[in-house]
């Protein structure tokens, strides 16, 4: 009786997951197959999911467009800078907030949380003006700094929560073993926080990669556009080349997908397990 109910539980769960996966993957699948269709097949009277003739024509056209590789590179640079600076600054901040004593610590923690509560749209104008005053309009630096202001509060909180779960003795042992604060962070704390570090990296990278609102506001010239804005330029005034657009969407998704596949195992891995007696 018990095994029977276990079977049904599993079956229901599986069906639900299948439906969810279908809903999530459907647009991706349509985009993928559309991008592989020749132009004449994209819009037909009787639409079909699979192309009759597979072709990489759309991708060839896409990469022959002068600006497209540049958009990709711009996005890649902005995302990487955002991710790396996020992890660097947030890990230092979280370390200080968890293990160092200084006045105003609680206020700082609350203030960081507070900054995360503003909706992005509210900040477009002030940030634009700030960038204008700093002469940063139409630079990648403006984007990186803006993204950091969104990613950092989240990353600091995320790392802070994770660091709090690390036994204090581990840090103390490192200090007694001769580590400075920085050595302790890079040699002991960050290596045991791989799941959180990965999460922070993914979050800030994806933020930089897919952000649209600020990229559209702060970037003016074609050479500094990121892929999210670049995608929009493929939409013509009179006509939309869906084959090209879907190919670009797929190309835009790939780096994030690859990034996820590479780091996903670290999400699951609980490295602290076994270090101390629980």
């Amino acid at each position: 009786m018990k095994s029977n109910s276990g079977f049904w539980n599993k079956a229901i769960r599986l069906v639900l997951l299948m439906i969810l996966t279908y809903v999530l993957l459907f647009p991706m699948t349509v985009a993928l197959f559309t991008s592989l269709k020749p132009p004449g097949e994209v819009i037909t009277a009787t639409p079909s999911l699979l192309p009759h003739d597979f072709t990489l024509q759309n991708y060839r056209v896409l990469f022959s467009l002068r600006e497209f590789p540049r958009y990709l590179l711009n996005s890649f640079l902005v995302s990487c800078y955002t991710a790396l600076i996020s992890i660097l600054v947030s890990s230092l901040a979280a370390y200080a907030l968890v293990w160092m004593n200084f006045t105003g610590k609680r206020t700082i923690v609350k203030a960081i949380f507070f900054t995360y509560m503003f909706p992005q749209i509210l900040l477009v104008l002030p940030l634009f003006l700030m960038c204008y005053e700093l002469n940063l309009i139409d630079t990648k630096m403006a984007l990186v700094l803006t993204y950091l202001s969104f990613s950092l509060p989240f990353c600091v909180w995320m790392l802070k929560s994770f660091f709090e779960s690390i036994p204090e003795e581990l840090v103390e042992a490192a200090m007694l073993d001769g580590c400075t604060y920085l050595q302790c962070l890079f040699k002991v704390v960050l290596p045991v926080s791989i799941p959180a570090v990965t999460a922070v990296l993914v979050f800030s990278f994806v933020l930089g990669w897919s952000e649209y609102l600020f990229a559209n506001t702060l970037i003016i010239s074609d050479t500094n556009r990121t892929i999210a804005i670049g995608l929009q330029t493929l939409i013509g005034y009179y006509r939309v080349d869906y084959g090209l657009l879907t190919a670009a969407s797929i190309v835009m998704t790939l780096p994030v997908l690859l990034f996820f596949v590479t780091v996903q195992k670290y999400f699951i891995q609980g490295l602290v397990v076994g270090s101390v007696k629980e």
Partner: protein, 363 residues
């Protein structure tokens, strides 16, 4: 060389709780000092202050001739073994052992040699490639000890290193730890709440309560002459029996069921302290209570057997009397069962009398 001196050491936390109050303690070179006391008595705080992990509110710590209050932990030449081992989970046993040497910039060959020597001493050679999560509790503790001894420090601080292990392993590692101490011939400060560990390992014991040192001395000295009722009740298994009694007009110790006369030298102390006619606490160890009368025994006290603990080599018998609860040790062959009415005799050769108000030892 590694003499330690704590001078008026005090720790008050932000919430105004004083964890350690005015502790003065001298730890000789190569001494095995055990700090023992119940949870929250401040023993770990003292250890952490010596290590430099806890700020000192007031007072001084000297290692040798140097005042170390403001010296960072890494420069104090001290190691600490933690209760939960605190091994680096992302490193192999080899790297865990080698970490402190790497931080000092010692060359690779030397590190290799020292890791191998340490592993040999602790018999963990075959574990060097494993990570902490692949080790058992006892193995983890060995690695933690290894991480300490590889540095060859002036002082070892051990914070309840055995309390996470099961009973059998604890006894085994206790002996190993003591052998290690003999071999290393160094200064060890060992913190525990387990008085058996304190008695069996320490060359000197410090008993703490509420951040105040209650008594310092050799295990034997503390066992035989506890300075107050707390120490009397804390040290020894089973703890000392403490009964309320009265010093009557003839300077005898008066119980409900019987009384006995004090020796002349003790009478002097009682008279001088003004205890005549006052209530006192009478203390007697379980092994000083017998079920048969002898020349120097006083009694009898009649009571009913409540609990019998069979330890194999002896029985701990808990008896309820009109003077209070008592525990005595009897030979396992003794015919005794629960609810038996038995007569007990006190061997008063080793007398303990304490002030009822402040618990301090009178005799």
């Amino acid at each position: 060389m590694a003499k330690l001196f704590l001078e008026n050491l005090t720790k008050v936390y932000d919430n105004k709780v004083a964890a350690v109050k005015d502790v003065n303690l001298s730890i000789e070179d190569k001494e095995f000092l055990v700090m023992v006391g119940p949870s929250g008595c401040g023993k770990s705080t003292i250890l952490r202050m010596i290590a430099g992990l806890e700020e000192i509110t007031s007072g001084n710590i000297f290692i040798g001739e140097t005042r170390v209050n403001d010296i960072p932990p890494k420069d104090r030449d001290i190691v600490m073994v933690f209760q939960n081992y605190a091994l680096y989970p992302h490193m192999t046993v080899y790297n865990n052992l080698a970490f402190s040497l790497k931080m000092k910039g010692i060359d690779k060959e030397e590190i290799k040699r020292r890791v191998s020597d340490t592993a040999k001493i602790l018999e963990i050679e075959e574990l060097l490639k494993r990570k902490p999560k692949q080790l058992s509790g006892g193995q983890k503790q060995r690695v933690a000890l290894g991480r300490a001894i590889i540095r060859n420090p002036k002082v070892f601080l051990l914070d309840e290193p055995l309390s996470n292990l099961d009973a059998k392993l604890r006894v085994q590692l206790r002996a190993e730890l003591y052998r290690l101490y003999k071999r290393l011939n160094t200064t060890i400060i060992y913190v525990t709440h387990d008085q058996t560990e304190a008695m069996t390992m320490g060359s000197k014991i410090v008993v703490l309560k509420d951040g105040i040192i209650q008594q310092t001395g050799t295990p034997q000295n503390i066992y035989k002459y506890p300075l107050n009722t707390f120490v009397a009740g804390f040290i020894g298994t089973p703890p000392m029996n403490l009964l309320e009694a009265e010093i009557n007009g003839e300077l005898s110790v008066q119980f409900q069921q019987f009384s006995f006369t004090l020796e002349e030298k003790h009478k002097e102390v009682i008279r001088a302290g003004g205890y005549a006619g006052k209530k006192v606490i009478f203390g007697i160890r379980a092994e000083e209570i017998t079920t048969s009368q002898s020349e120097c025994s006083m009694g009898p006290v009649t009571g009913e057997v409540e609990v019998i603990e069979n330890l194999g080599s002896e029985l701990n018998v808990y008896i309820n009397t009109t003077d209070g609860g008592l525990v005595t040790k009897v030979h396992p062959g003794t015919e005794i069962k629960i609810e038996d009415k038995i007569k007990l005799y006190f061997n008063t050769g080793q007398l303990h009398l304490f002030d009822k108000d402040n618990g301090r030892r009178i005799i």
